[in-house]
């Protein structure tokens, strides 16, 4: 059964017409599809069918180990958004970005296509100056209206600097990670496994933490 009804399909299609360049999606699943893998595959397939600018590659998490390693994918389902030349931008969604999270997904897709709002000069130079490996994990639930904002900020940081990677993680699908990081509220932002923040943070606050690490 299709995930998108006609109305949502049309809305998404309209939004995607503004895409600038092509975008490549790499989707990771496996032969015996995990819980949520099947739906997430339908999701990426339906999205890809709505714009000629979206190229979709489907990988088997176990058989295509090289690809998984290349994109740093360590669990499934995973959707990696790459640019038109298949350059890795460090932007990953773990889980199906439904509910409110459709907004962060479409936002990152548009940004990966080159449609980015300019950053303030001082912010841009602070991001460029980050010279260590940074991994941002944003835990969300799909019923959380604040969460897409936190995800978009993290993904934007990733797009602006190769050393930064950012993941959306659907808390409902990865209970062991929820346990590990003791997540009991979203959005929850974990930076390099060691620093943790609660709630939506402005890009400046994330940079403050990253710079002090």
């Amino acid at each position: 059964m299709a995930l998108f009804d006609e109305k949502v399909k049309k809305q998404i299609k309209d939004i995607l017409t503004a895409m600038k360049d092509d975008v490549s999606l790499a989707f990771f699943t496996q032969e015996f599809e995990c819980f949520a893998c099947g739906d997430t595959r339908s999701f990426v397939e339906e999205i890809a069918s709505l714009s000629e600018k979206i190229k979709l590659a489907i990988y088997d998490f176990q058989k295509d180990k090289d690809a998984a390693d290349r994109y740093g994918v360590d669990k499934i389902p995973a959707i990696v958004i790459n640019d038109k030349d298949n350059n890795h931008l460090g932007v990953t969604f773990y889980g199906l970005p439904g509910g409110y999270e459709i907004n962060s997904f479409l936002g990152s897709l548009m940004e990966a296509s080159g449609l980015r709002e300019p950053l303030k000069d001082d912010i841009a130079s602070r991001i460029t100056a980050v010279d260590k490996d940074v991994h941002i994990q944003v835990f969300v639930t799909l019923t959380c209206p604040y969460c897409p904002g936190a995800v978009s900020t993290a993904h934007r940081l990733a797009m602006e600097n190769k050393r930064i990677k950012a993941d959306m993680i659907d808390a409902g699908l990865f209970p062991h990670l929820v346990q590990k990081h003791q997540v009991s509220g979203v959005p929850r932002i974990i930076i390099n496994e060691s620093h943790s923040m609660v709630g939506v943070q402005p890009i400046e606050k994330l940079l403050d933490v990253i710079e002090k690490m």
Partner: protein, 325 residues
């Protein structure tokens, strides 16, 4: 699977210019909820130079699941309504800033608006439409355990309390709704209500009473939230007897209503006891050239359509003020 899509979120966004600091605007609007956005549409159409400052677009509407009493839509989800408001503003093009809060205001013939990040902008007239925000408990442990058991959004965070014991503070609509969300997943829900009965709508209270794992403690207040690394218990004091009970709980949801965002004009404008900006029926405040609209004011009834109407009034009064100055 639902998709709470913000329609049009990517096409209208580009039709604005950043605010200019060495210009004196005719009207500067503070706030991007229904009051502020409506005021913006009216000011632009009147042809006065307009700046719009928004911490978070949509205000409370962006946090509302569904709206059934805004005319023209039998039902519309909050995010979608915000998009429609936004598109209507941006079709005109406007000087706009989003993401930073205003910290303070200087009155005088030309008003100055100071941002938290140090920027300053000027205008002949101001419209304050900063709305309301969730009230906090203000008890020990609340800040410390935020995100480690202390929560404010039951639709966001209820799943993390499956099989656990939780406290919900507040017996109005949002408290009752949170208790229902939580009763579905939690082991037990204890509601703490300040008054002697719940004040939520009857429909909701009936729904709540169908759950066997919910109890309500009346005429009581939370005095502290305790634990080591995360919430372990909540202290609740009976307001009549003064007796304090410890309730074992891994989570506490705070749903005790809203406070006006009037801190930036405290000491400058006349406020009522609830901290709301006092306005006359043309949205004038106690200072000439400063107008206010919507939930941040003492206007009776806090609703989207009321806030929008007040925004329109404030804009028209402000435009008159600027033209006749």
């Amino acid at each position: 699977m639902d998709f709470n899509l913000s329609a049009g979120m990517f096409d209208s966004e580009l039709n604005f210019n950043p605010l200019v600091s060495d210009k004196t605007y005719d009207v500067m609007i503070l706030g991007g909820g229904p009051a502020g956005l409506t005021a913006a549409v009216y000011c632009i159409r009147k042809g006065v130079s307009t700046g719009l400052i928004v911490k978070e677009i949509g205000g409370q509407v962006a946090l509302t699941a569904g709206v059934e009493n805004y005319m023209g839509y039998r039902y519309i989800n909050g995010v979608e309504l915000v998009q429609k408001f936004k598109e209507q503003v941006f079709q005109f093009g406007i000087d706009y800033d989003e993401g930073t809060a205003v910290q303070s205001i200087d009155a005088g013939d030309i008003k100055k608006v100071h941002f938290e990040d140090g920027r300053v902008f000027s205008a002949k007239a101001l419209i304050i439409a900063t709305g309301k925000s969730w009230r906090k408990l203000g008890v020990p442990g609340e800040e410390e355990f935020r995100g480690r058991g202390v929560a404010y959004c039951s639709t966001c965070d209820a799943p993390f309390f499956s099989g656990k014991n939780v406290v919900v503070v507040g017996g109005g609509n949002s408290g009752v709704e949170a208790a229902i969300d939580l009763a579905r997943v939690a082991e037990g829900v204890t509601m703490v209500q300040f008054l002697e009965k719940l004040t939520g709508d009857t429909i909701l209270i009936d729904k709540l009473s169908a759950f066997k794992n919910v109890r309500v403690i009346y005429e009581s207040e939370v005095t502290s939230i305790d634990g080591r690394d995360s919430v372990e218990s909540v202290s609740v004091k009976n307001r009549k007897t003064g007796v304090v009970d410890q309730i074992a709980a891994q989570g506490i949801f705070v749903e005790i209503g809203l406070i006006p965002n009037s801190g930036i004009v405290k000491g400058l404008l006349q406020l009522n006891q609830a901290g709301e900006i006092m306005v006359d029926c043309s949205c004038r405040t106690s200072v000439p050239g400063i107008f206010a609209a919507g939930d941040v004011t003492d206007v009776p009834f806090k609703q989207i359509i009321v806030a929008g109407g007040e925004g329109a009034k404030a804009a028209l009064t402000a435009c008159n003020y600027v033209l006749n100055r």
